[in-house]
């Protein structure tokens, strides 16, 4: 039996300080699963802040993980920009028709007012409820899309690449607006009670952008943005690779990096040691069909590769566990962390 001597927040802060806490902290980054807890459809669940807050509290009680996740779904920001969201009964709400139909639309685009967006208001309210409930016992993780990655939802991937390569002035104009929005949105969540902000930035991963281009674009955008966010941030590459740019990401001012299952976890940990805490890297897509035994082996393996010395939070590799992942697998992950994640007392 593991004797735990720290609260979740103490455990996470200790590992962020690159020291070993009582056990490996783990974040089950569950969003839609709260609907199952409340016996609701996904659409109904996300319609009220109270549902999401209640779902998060119940899931943490059930699985014993070390954070609350005030993230609803990725296109919550697109709604604020005037876009639509397509709901599904078996997956996360998805972005509808892009809000930027042509490059010319960028010239008339206006930065949304955080206070005027009903979708963002729900997230802020859920954050406030969570903070009142958990106080300082566990961290509340808020989420923003990076200004550099948001255009994938605002205008589609292909058109965004075309913009980046063919229209540098319009690209810069869009980045300036997105930066303003991102900073305001992050700071509003921190003010509502979020402990830290997860900064989703898959386009900066070396899976999508070559390092040379990243240094001229996403890197500069991130440095400017994170400097204006009034709290700690974690950069998440949402399954994208990081090794070629990990040192650069460490220079952007972030404390954590969310990493992919497609890269060598030991190599990532070595590259991050003392600079960045590693968050990852269980394969969320495969997790859907794991047996409890496989789940235990995957957890044990990740811990063996990356937990020594702290600076490690076990999590999935995408930042959102698929709806199809069954409860027994989530429970097996939790039990495995409690079994294999205990640090030896020194």
């Amino acid at each position: 039996m593991t004797i735990e001597t720290m609260t979740s927040l103490q455990r996470v802060l200790t590992t962020l300080g690159h020291k070993e806490p009582d056990r490996v902290p783990f974040f089950l980054l569950l969003t839609m699963h709260g609907a199952k807890e409340l016996n609701m459809t996904i659409r109904e669940y996300f319609s009220k802040a109270e549902n999401v807050a209640e779902g998060q509290v119940r899931m943490r009680k059930k699985y014993g993980h070390d954070c609350l996740y005030s993230f609803f779904y990725a296109p919550v920001e697109v709604e604020a920009w005037g876009g639509s969201v397509i709901y599904s009964d078996e997956g996360p709400p998805n972005s509808g028709e892009p809000v930027i139909g042509s490059f010319a639309d960028i010239k008339t685009l206006r930065v949304p007012d955080i206070g005027q967006s009903p979708s963002l208001a729900k997230v802020l309210e859920a954050t406030r409820i969570l903070k009142e409930t958990v106080k300082d016992e566990a961290p509340i993780i808020g989420v923003v899309m990076s200004p550099f990655s948001l255009p994938v939802m605002q205008m589609g991937f292909s058109q965004y690449f075309d913009l980046m390569f063919a229209e540098p002035a319009l690209f810069e104009r869009l980045m300036a607006m997105n930066e303003e929005f991102c900073v305001n949105w992050a700071n509003a969540q921190l003010k509502a009670g979020a402990t830290a902000i997860c900064y989703f930035d898959p386009v900066s991963s070396s899976t999508i952008t070559p390092r040379d281009l990243y240094l001229k674009t996403g890197y500069e955008v991130t440095k400017r943005t994170l400097a204006r966010i009034n709290g700690p941030t974690a950069t998440h590459l949402a399954s994208g690779n990081c090794l070629p740019v990990v040192a650069d990401i460490a220079n952007t001012g972030t404390a954590v990096i969310g990493v992919s299952c497609n890269e060598d976890l030991m190599a990532i940990k070595a590259a991050c040691r003392g600079k960045l805490t590693v968050l990852g890297n269980l394969n969320g897509i495969e997790m859907r069909r794991w047996t409890p035994e496989q789940a235990e082996n995957e957890v044990k393996s990740a811990i063996q590769q990356a937990a020594a010395g702290g600076g490690f939070i076990l999590s999935d590799n995408h930042g959102e566990i698929p709806w199809q992942v069954p409860e027994d697998v989530l429970m097996a992950i939790s039990q495995a962390v409690h079994k294999w994640g205990r640090y030896r007392t020194k």
Partner: protein, 211 residues
Amino acid sequence: MNNLLSQDFEKALLDMDRRAATKILTQACESVEPIVFVEQVIVPALEKIGDDWDKGRIALSQVYMSGRICEDLVDTILPPASPNRTSQPAMAIAVLDDYHALGKTIIYSSLRASGYELLDLGRVSVDELVRQTIEHKLRIILISVLMLPSALHVKQVVERLRLQNCNAKIVVGGAPFRFDRQLWQEVGADATGTNIADALTVIHRIMEEMS
């Protein structure tokens, strides 16, 4: 075709330098037939670029821009109606369910740059994809997805087509299939691929089986 020219062409693509790629093609086509340049330079370059992305050596934006540049170049030297384009069974590509069309665009551009003609069905639902497959008498359908629920919906496409006695071959690709290498079989697809080289190999194999 000399090796140096192939290397220069690949470098121009990776640098996303449309002007340099066009210059290499123009100069080469003064001494060789355009179809020879397509077969000996463009197709191998796109295959290598796709493979290099798979191995984490280059980035998706480079793959995307390479496909787009090559598609435009090939359209200028080998128009869609050219008899030199590959003769093939009716083939289409589609994104199932969502608005993430990048993977589809890369494969579509690269296949066209390799001499194939195929219908671009754009974003379709399960119903729409089944309807269009029957209507166009498609023999090969390439389905691209980004989200896991969309990947799981491929199973419905397969079941619905088989119920209508349609034996079109279903080839799937996209992030969920990259992260779970068994998923394509689970949804009943005939094949999967992670890059343009895989797509070309799979299409060649299916065409051989069909003949």
